[in-house]
Amino acid sequence: MTWRVDSRFAGAGGQGLALAAVVVAEAGLASGYAVALTQEYGPEARGGASRADVVLSDEPIANPQCGIPDILLALHDKAWHKFARTRPAVMAALAEGRCTALVDADLVRVEPGVAGILALPFEAAARTELRAKVVANMIGVGAFACVSGRFSRDAIEEAVAKRSPEAFRPVNRAAVRRGWDMAAAHGSVFDGSLVGHAVSA
């Protein structure tokens, strides 16, 4: 069965979500998938919440646009507000198990009682454990890769390393491993079944 994963990487400007999307797309290419990355452009990309979308598939991608995301990574409440809280279709998908949200446990105020949300301390772990607040996005990438079930841990780590300047490679590698482990620790939530949805061939 042909599959595709629609994923959205959302945050406040400067949190590095566009780079996170690039890393995931490059990991996708390296894993033999088709990828399409689109991101906001123009006035709406300045300030406030921003997003970048990656579609992954085992078949060539006709429609490159992200629909209701299978996985939404939100590192800031502004992004959660813009791309989840105010979008009934996304909230419904979360409740029905068609969307998984990875949100920053401290920076996003999620609605109580909504299923499908995994709140993890991306920013806090970056700041306190890795002493580099800027790698919160790469922790997010690690968590994303684990949850997606579409990447090996090595593949995502290599993609991150490839995009890193040499001096920052160790901390970025550590970040992506930390993110993977954070998500994996919630194995009871994620039973190992693949995220994504079937598409007609």
């Binding site: 690039v22 797309a25 990828v35 689109t38 123009g42 006709a62 429609n63 646009q65 007609s200 061939a201």
Partner: protein, 382 residues
């Protein structure tokens, strides 16, 4: 040797140009095309090429034409407002048979319009934007890989046919990133026709055509003395108003562009048994392709014809796709431009239900499917 990389559409355009031997770019940055200029500003000087940021788009194409006359493979890139300013020089390049590539990354118009939103509104402008009966070659890539490849094709056609070739895509494709295989350009790509005879005082044939109907104009600086003009001219390049000479010139300029039809046939998708024929190009064709799959699942025998060459119109391929159709749906992001060509070819024999959308957002798979289903329900399908 080839490598697979994640590349943005506009970057792919620059890379395709470099691979095709582009060594001169003059332009004026404009959204959503600016990354093409940015990439070439970095790359060209390192390769012994030239990048010039000009004062405006008129001057940009003027500089490109000068470089091309000097022998360089030359290009500019812009969006609708700049494309408008380039129309005068496009006409000149057509008549004077100066090879060049002009990229138009379409945004919403008219005027400054929607600077950061996609559109397919410049299709007729690419055909008729410059005055007179001007033959044109316009290619329309639908993926980042194809932006790379068709930019190379555009250079090959421009050189071989000695004519401006327009590469037309939109903001979404320009800014999207996809995997691209950067292959080495095919060897032996034909250069531009040049005179068979050596320079000398008796040279009087700068605009004598070759067997393909393409003038064999020398490059400047090769010792030939000749005249280049935007006036109607004879084979010597001298102005003429002789009606028979002028008519033959216009006929030749149009006929030579037919070679592009063989170089870029349309893509056919699931058309074998299709009676509902979707016709779309660029980003819209991607949505139409996905829509065909959804429609097939719902029992509608749909297929897609995707022209990669918008001008000249691939009439034979259109006729072939339309002939068995019971419904033809041309979709595009404008108020109706290339769909008029579909209508012209289809005549009144086939029910047409074009899907046209202007306003700055792309046509979704869902709305296209809904449109086709509604058209079939309404009995457009007899």
């Amino acid at each position: 040797m080839s490598t697979l990389q994640l590349v943005q559409g506009n970057e792919a355009c620059a890379l395709g140009a470099l691979a095709a031997g582009c060594r001169f770019f003059a332009g004026y940055p404009i959204s959503p095309s600016s990354e093409i200029a940015e990439a070439l500003a970095r790359a060209l000087p390192r390769r012994g090429g030239v990048f010039i940021q000009m004062e405006d788009e008129m001057a940009s194409l003027g500089a490109v034409l000068g470089a091309a006359m000097g022998g360089a493979r030359a290009m500019t890139a812009t969006s609708g407002p700049g494309f408008t300013l380039m129309q005068e020089h496009l006409g000149y390049a057509s008549l004077a048979e100066i090879p060049c590539v002009v990229v138009d990354v379409m945004r919403g118009g008219p005027s400054t319009g929607l600077p950061t939103s996609p559109s397919q509104g410049d299709v007729m402008q690419a055909r008729w934007g410059s005055h007179g009966d001007r033959a044109t070659v316009v290619v329309a890539p639908a993926s980042v890989q194809e932006v790379h490849d068709l930019t190379g094709t555009a250079f090959a056609l421009a050189e071989r046919l000695r004519t401006p070739v327009v590469v037309l895509f939109d903001e979404v494709i320009g800014h999207m990133r996809e995997g691209v295989t950067l292959a080495a350009p095919p060897a032996g790509s034909a250069g531009r026709p040049v005179p068979g005879e050596p320079p000398g005082p008796s040279f009087r044939s700068a605009y004598r055509p070759n067997a393909e109907g393409v003038a064999m104009v020398p490059d400047f600086g090769r010792g030939y003395r000749f005249h280049v003009t935007g006036l109607m001219h004879d084979e010597r390049g001298y102005p003429t108003s002789d009606p028979a000479t002028v008519a033959a010139l216009l006929e030749r300029l149009e006929r030579k562009t037919d070679a592009a039809l063989d170089a870029l046939p349309p893509e056919r998708y699931r058309l074998e048994d299709a009676t509902v024929v979707l016709i779309a190009y660029g980003i819209t064709a991607r949505m139409a392709r996905a829509a065909v799959d959804v429609l097939r699942e719902r029992g509608i025998p749909a297929g897609l014809l995707r022209p990669r060459l918008l001008w000249p119109v691939p009439v034979a391929a259109l006729e072939e796709a339309i002939a068995p159709a019971e419904l033809v749906v041309a979709a595009e992001m404008n108020r109706g431009q290339w769909s008029l060509e579909v209508e012209r070819v289809a005549g009144r024999q086939v029910p047409l239900a074009p899907y046209l959308k202007a306003g700055g957002s792309i046509i979704s798979v869902e709305e296209l499917v809904e449109h086709v289903l509604a058209a079939t329900r309404e009995g457009v399908l007899a």
